[in-house]
């Protein structure tokens, strides 16, 4: 069964006055308009918090009602920051059974109506309890991973700043990104410390936002070529590797094998940079370069819109904003837009034929790789 992304719907990420259901419905309606409102018989929705003004919402039935999809089948999935990737994979696998014709996938998060302390506590659900007991947070563990990477390859923190500058320069071209202004390395290096060596501008922001895509039978420029997922130990201390994510390496291997492709055929990539220096490890884990080689790719400018491998043309998680569940689907949506020639002001220099999107759950415990591209019918 061959399936493809027929339409992408993205609202603006950032601080939005609307609630979760409205944000999700907005993205969904953009995606449905893109297919001329043809009927949908499967709905897959992802949200980590499913947070409404009065607490957790019955997200799936409320959205079904709002969108008039009562005759469809529906599923809700959750995998922290990897939720959007998981939602897409569930929908694609369901369509591959032949039981459904067309799926609407939505991933949404409402965050800015809550305090940073509340969000930090909620996000700790993606960590091991012993880590939270020791006072660790997601940025705290990311800082340990980053510090180890810098030390292992003899790097200074300026490479972290360069990755953040890249993210923000890409985001400045994307009208739906949270951050519309580029930053200098000096601004990044002088932003306040979150967890050494990570500073504020290395970290993704609390954002509201939603993404939707329509998947249907058939082929197109964004045909699903390969899906892969991988797990790693939840607890950082139980992992074999600290400067590389096993879950990404496994997911990439499975996806490349399914697509019968190698990384050399990938023309554009969206990686899950919840912390900007993680972009380095992700490029290495996805096979684009060897261990410790990714900093050179940034220093040489090979990751720009006209580089040998444009990386995160949407701005990535750091530039686009991080409505937790939506980020993984936004990465897939961005790759589909690039492949379909619909990326507008953030299109890469040469329209790509194959693209790869990456999603990370927690600190890398369950990661997803999605390869899309053109395929002859």
């Amino acid at each position: 069964m061959t399936i493809h992304v027929a339409s992408v719907g993205m609202g603006r990420f950032g601080k939005r006055p609307e609630g979760l259901i409205t944000l999700a419905a907005e993205a969904a309606n953009f995606a449905l308009e893109g297919i001329g409102r043809k009927p949908v018989d499967l709905l897959v929705v992802g949200s980590m918090f499913a947070q409404g003004p009065h607490g957790r919402e019955a997200l799936l039935p409320r959205l079904v009602g709002r969108l008039g999809l009562e005759s469809a089948s529906g599923f809700r999935v959750e995998s922290s920051s990897g939720t959007g990737g998981m939602a897409f994979h569930v929908a694609a696998l369901a369509l591959e059974t032949g039981r459904f014709e067309r799926a609407l996938v939505i991933a949404a998060e409402k965050m800015t109506d809550r305090s940073t302390a509340e969000i930090t506590k909620e996000l700790s659900a993606a960590l091991h309890m012993s880590e939270v007991a020791a006072g660790a947070t997601m940025p705290g563990l990311a800082a340990i991973v980053t510090a180890r990477y810098l030390q292992r390859y003899g790097l200074s923190t300026d490479i972290c700043d360069i990755t953040a500058v890249h993210a923000r320069s890409m985001a400045a071209r994307n009208p739906n990104a949270h951050f519309q202004k580029a930053v200098t390395p000096e601004e990044v290096a002088s932003s306040r410390v979150v967890a050494l060596p990570l500073r504020l501008l290395h970290c993704s922001a609390i954002s509201d936002g939603a993404t939707a895509v329509v998947l249907e039978k058939g082929t197109g420029p964004a045909t699903v070529l390969g899906l892969g997922q991988g797990f790693d130990a939840l607890r950082l201390v139980d992992r074999e590797e600290l400067t590389s994510f096993t879950a990404t390496r496994v997911a990439a291997r499975v996806a490349y094998e399914a697509a019968h492709l190698t990384r050399k055929e990938v023309n554009v990539v969206e990686v899950h940079d919840a912390f900007s220096p993680f972009t380095l490890m992700h490029l290495e884990d996805l096979g684009f370069c060897g261990p410790g080689e990714a900093p050179k790719w940034f220093r040489e400018g090979w990751v720009g819109l006209d580089g040998r491998l444009p990386v995160n043309p949407s701005g990535g998680v750091v530039g686009r904003g991080h409505p937790i569940a939506a980020s993984g689907l936004a990465a897939i949506g961005e790759v589909a837009l690039q492949l379909r020639g619909e990326a507008g002001s953030h299109a890469i220099a040469t329209r790509p034929k194959v693209g790869l999107a990456h999603a990370v759950s927690g600190i890398g415990s369950h990661n997803f790789v999605t390869i899309l591209g053109g395929k002859s019918p």
């Binding site: 940073t116 302390a117 930090t120 506590k121 700790s124 012993s130 880590e131 939270v132 007991a133 020791a134 006072g135 660790a136 947070t137 940025p139 705290g140 800082a143 340990i144 991973v145 510090a147 180890r148 030390q151 306040r192 410390v193 979150v194 967890a195 050494l196 060596p197 990570l198 130990a233 607890r235 950082l236 201390v237 139980d238 600290l242």
Partner: protein, 107 residues
């Protein structure tokens, strides 16, 4: 007999993995056939951080270190004192639900 302070770790009798005690089975193979053993409490810092926004209940700056102790077992420990540099030797001890690390006492 191990001289000096000791730290309790767990060994799996199925896959022979050695790891920091958990409340569940072996994190490598899932076997429940595990038992505790004692080893030297001295370890080497792999990486450390200073959190300016630690988890609820902790005060900033909160320092954490990832420490490798015997048998390549790693421990996430709360640092007592200044932030250690990678490679520094520390003594790790269990304190209720958490582990704490301090510079190894000099001879």
């Amino acid at each position: 007999m191990i001289p000096g302070a000791t730290l309790e770790l767990t060994q799996c009798h199925s896959c022979h993995a050695r790891f920091l005690p958990t409340d569940g089975p072996c994190p490598k193979c899932g076997s429940p056939d595990c038992s505790p053993y004692s080893t030297s409490a001295v370890g080497r810092v792999l990486a450390a951080t200073e959190l300016h926004y630690p988890a609820s209940g902790w005060h900033a700056p909160h320092r954490l270190a990832l420490v490798e102790v015997a048998d390549a077992v790693r421990v996430l420990a709360i640092v007592e004192g200044v932030l250690p540099v990678p490679g520094a030797l520390v003594e790790v001890r269990r304190d209720g639900d958490v582990h704490r690390a301090r510079p190894e006492p000099t001879q």
